[in-house]
């Protein structure tokens, strides 16, 4: 693969790929916590299937990040040998999985974003990114269908399911501002036409979410007043460290092990 680019581009693209890959990796780990714990067998399988999709996506993105960095680090090295403050995932995705309704709300808020975002990333001027986006979009289209249909059923379900899922939504809404976080990393790659403009993604996400909440008879929370916007820079909630300890212990206890 042709990896010729300026040092600044290499640095920013590496950073950008960590953001993409860490989102998938952290989400995969949170979803895999449902393995054997799903509300019913069929849903247990669905959630762990989605977790596997996300793991595969993380593998592609972090693998590419390692190539771009050019320091000989593999995707696995990046996944298992980085510490908490080197992770670049959204805070929304690292929060504890909660109950099934919490998970569905989180999935929906992210899937709606991912579906729009990766649709646009297919047009990337950097071919490896465009290729990844095309593959991811196919999977995300199903993830969105899954979380959207469930959100509608829980929202417009029983009195209890409605109450619980509205509460999940109100609690997680504050983290959605970070979905559209941008800084000089985005600006640099946007100027090259390698990545989508978040300013174009946001209104589309807004429409999709508003329309789905309406169908689900859920009240759209007011605009997030508390914008953490720090997780993309490596400043995370207390939950990520615990999750990573769990996820990384095997790889760190047996360096280089294979099976």
């Amino acid at each position: 693969m042709d990896m010729k680019m300026s040092e600044e581009t290499r640095r920013t693209l590496f950073e950008y790929l960590l953001r993409l890959g860490d989102d998938q990796l952290v989400m995969a780990q949170r979803l895999s916590e449902w393995c054997g714990m799903g509300p019913i067998l069929e849903e247990d399988l669905a959630l762990t299937n989605i977790a596997l999709d996300c793991t595969g996506q993380a593998e592609m993105m972090l693998g590419l990040a390692g190539e771009v960095e050019g320091q000989g680090r593999s995707g696995d090295d990046l996944a298992f040998l980085r510490d908490e403050d080197e992770f670049r995932n959204l805070q929304l995705l690292e929060m504890p999985r909660g109950h099934f309704g919490d998970t569905i709300v989180r999935q929906f808020l992210y899937d709606a974003f991912a579906w729009i975002y990766f649709g646009k990333l297919r047009e990337s001027g950097f071919q490896p990114l465009a290729d990844i986006a095309a593959k991811v979009l196919k999977e995300v289209t199903y993830h969105l269908r899954h979380s959207r249909e469930w959100l509608i059923r829980l929202g417009d379900g029983t009195e209890q399911s409605h109450y619980k899922v509205q509460k999940s939504l109100d609690t997680q809404w504050v983290y959605t501002g970070e979905l559209f976080f941008t800084d000089e990393v985005d600006a640099h790659l946007l100027a090259l036409k390698w990545v989508p403009d978040m300013a174009e993604v946001q209104p589309l996400w807004d429409d999709l979410v508003t329309q789905t909440l309406l169908e689900a008879t859920l009240r759209r929370p007011v605009e997030p007043v508390f914008l953490p916007m720090e997780a993309r820079l490596g400043r995370h909630s207390e939950y990520l460290g615990h999750m990573l300890a769990n996820m990384q212990i095997l790889a760190r206890s047996h360096p280089g092990a294979s099976w």
């Binding site: 019913i40 069929e42 399988l45 669905a46 249909e149 059923r153 417009d156 379900g157 029983t158 209890q160």
Partner: protein, 100 residues
Amino acid sequence: MKEKVDSLDEWAVWEVFSQLEWGKPHEHCGSLHAPDAEIALQNARDVYARRFSVKSLWVVPANAITATRQEDGESFFDPQDEKIYRHPSFYKLPKGVRNI
């Protein structure tokens, strides 16, 4: 808002049929629980279609299937294979038609 559902037992059983190639019949591949048709399709996808290349899925509420009874036995199923003229096996099939 719908009535409160007390237990997951109230989820209906659905039978799942999958088609592995275009033009081939849908074949029964198993059953599952789901609260409605859309979720039944999604569950079928996750339970039965994930590891094979499936072209199409049908889900049917199990209680919509009318089945024979075991005691129907011989009278119902007596094979008619000694009367081959009763079988529609003397037609020439047009070229290009497969999977019949």
